[in-house]
Amino acid sequence: MSDEMTILLQQADAVGARIFEFFRYLGSLGLLVYLSFRATIFGSTEGHTHVKKYGLRQVFSVVSAQIYFTGWQALPMITVLALAAGGIAILQSSAQLSLFGGTGMLGSILVITIVREMGPLITALIVIARSGAAVASEIGNMRVHREIEALEVMGINPLSYIVFPRVAGGVISVVCLAFYFNAISLVGGFFVSRAIHDLPFSFYFESLANAFVIEDIILFFVKNGFSGLMIFALACHQGLSVKLSSHEVPQVTTKAVVHSIIAVTSFNVVVSVIFYVKQLVRMGIL
């Protein structure tokens, strides 16, 4: 076999190995989420429904704590960013729309830029920065300080006590935060459009209402639900991968953040492309 052929095969082998590793990683993430849900819903106290009730109570106290940290405590930051995003979107588009007298399109612009694209992405990025990193380092430190082992010896499945509450609480928080982001952005957009174009609220509201389609609801839940799932599954997976040394904690935290950003951004792009291709097909352009 020629040298060129050998090099080519080696490169193909390396690419294949990376693809395999990628799917193995995705598989382990899926398995982590599946097992955590199974352990919580059907798990540790199977056949002891009265006991399961108490176990679930403990688990849901952790879920509510996660919603508090991820959702509630992020509200001030989300409010500022949402107002700014809504305002800027109107401000930038107004200059162009005024030239053509197209203020009726303000609603469409807000729905397209904020609700479909910026809302899910900005919310996810804030949650990654605030909570994804925090969860990865928290779980990493729990491994170092043998807290996970402590749960095991107490007969508490770490998957249901550590992973499930963070993933479930994370998904709920991201969906609620994204909804809040959209609502505040639209309010911000109204104030700016009112200041610039002196638009009445009814006109603004009608413009928004005309721009919304049923797919926006599906898009909202798909994008934000997936973001929440990926951010917290990745954070838990990376945190649990710490072996017992504290120097691993910042490393896994960085990995969790980077992987989450890549996953969330890629997914948002793919979903948006599918959505717009579908729209073009419906309009008969494709």
Binding site: A39, G43, S44, T45, E46, H48, H50, V51, K53, Y54, G55, Q58, N141, M142, V144, H145, R146, E147, E149, A150, L151, E152, V153, M154, G155, I156, N157, Y161
Partner: protein, 237 residues
Amino acid sequence: MSELKLGRYRIRSFELRDVGFSYMPGSCILDGVTLQIPVGGITHVTGPSGQGQSTLLKMLSFLVEPTAGRILVNDTVASEMSFEEFLPWRLEIGYTFESGGLLSNRTLSENLMLPHLYHNLSDIDELSQKVLEIAKTFRFQNQLNQRPAMVSGGLRKLVTILRPILLRPSFLVMDDPFSGLDPETTRTLESLILDLREKNEVETICFTSRDEIWPKRLGANSLWVENGRAELRGLAA
């Protein structure tokens, strides 16, 4: 303690069959260990430092799985059971950590109560009273509402020992329980453990200890671990 609501299986036999363990390929900590842990007895796991005594204790508490061989509890292969399947036995096995092991975002009191509340083993008022009593015995009742980071290392260690003891496991595994404790706490703890053994609430104890007096005073069997092998050698010398 109130009615025990979750099934717990009393441990009648505990056997390691050709058990091996390595943290990474090529570094064997335990190799082909076959032994019966004397159920109902006290076993001092000893040997030169770094020979796998703590690993063996973790294996007895199912915190690490053997990389070879099997562990049989009551003649059932327990090392291959799922977390849920093993739960009734796990609640009978108490493990005390050499270091760490407390949930840092919970108070000492919450750490002590968590397994009872999670498994609904006790009424909360009764449990709070029990925790307060044991805290008074060891004179840390004023620190019950503090988190682990706010108390001394000795107290943290004490709480990691008391937590499984409160669950009254029949099989108690302790990794160097008395290092870091002051002499008075050590004496109180020792008499508590012996008292539980007399009442037959704790039947079997396996422990490591750098203290040479304690194993003799307890009349513990010696389990010598060296070069990946483990051997029961009768009463501690």
